[in-house]
Symmetry: C2
Subunit: 201 residues, 2 copies
Amino acid sequence: MASELVRIPARRGKATRLKRGQTIKIINTHGSQVVDTWAFVDGLMTEFMSMEHSRATHLKMVPAVGDALVTNKRRKILTLIDDRSSGVHDTLIAACDNERYGLLGCTEYHDNCTDNLAAALAELGLRPPETPSPLNLFMNIPWTSAGRLSFEEPKTKPGDYVVLRAEIDTVVAMSACPQDILPINGKSRQPTEAHFQVSDG
Amino acid sequence: MASELVRIPARRGKATRLKRGQTIKIINTHGSQVVDTWAFVDGLMTEFMSMEHSRATHLKMVPAVGDALVTNKRRKILTLIDDRSSGVHDTLIAACDNERYGLLGCTEYHDNCTDNLAAALAELGLRPPETPSPLNLFMNIPWTSAGRLSFEEPKTKPGDYVVLRAEIDTVVAMSACPQDILPINGKSRQPTEAHFQVSDG
């Protein structure tokens, strides 16, 4: 049974608990919004989804349908069970933070995914032990054979989504990335809301 | 002035302090040894060299001469000032750990870079706040245009080295990776010692 559709406001974060076997559908509502996504073992926040451990397991830069993302203790935490998008996501780039926007020229505080993670978890009475490298859903960071990277517009359309299944009781946090200086959220550089929905597997 | 040549024993870790401006030369003594490398801000262990923040800064998969690696707070910590190797290093793969060897079929404890980091820091009276994703010097993880990764033999020869300069007072830790199941330390699968040398810039 699917629960209500939950809004992740533009430039903000939101977190939810998933019981083992439950799924979460994360929706690119307006078609060009990156959603930074983290997962922590419920009750053991120091164990979390790790991009560097997952890449070593899948031997892929980006997970594909059927791949389980693993924790920093090599346990399966979330499996990508459906991907109704271009399949272009990112595992290479850190969550943005206020320092990042300072380096991009901002002279005042800028909303950022690092603070959104902390705020989203705080709503559940939790604190992140740090900011793990996120699964950046819908984020388009192409690489060249020479290893050059670039920040590009998403290859998504309104309503695109992915579905992830919890392999263990998990806290999932998401941030509708507030990046409005680079075109990572589309050439209009206008961050938008996104949505998610939890279902009973 | 260069200090003594310090040995990193095969399958073990070693750490050293660097004052800002000092350099460390890390040597692939026998020619096919991966050296997992970490850097922590001296006196503030929760701020450390971060591969995901560095990739976002350089826009490169692997740092090249002249690139400064940055911390999880976006501060420059180590600059790659010389690279007398093939230039093939890795920033994508987590440090090995006992869990990893279990998944590779080991039924007993296996030496690993995660425990080597902790042991190396313990010799200086320090503890890692976690195991950051390392700069895997001399490690050959090629990628394809489709994003497939593989563990391959190093592209190095005896005596190859890199030199890193501290941009801030830093604790550098290194592990001569004990991986002997995959050919990441050469096709003989025989981990060896490596060496390092600190100099006054």
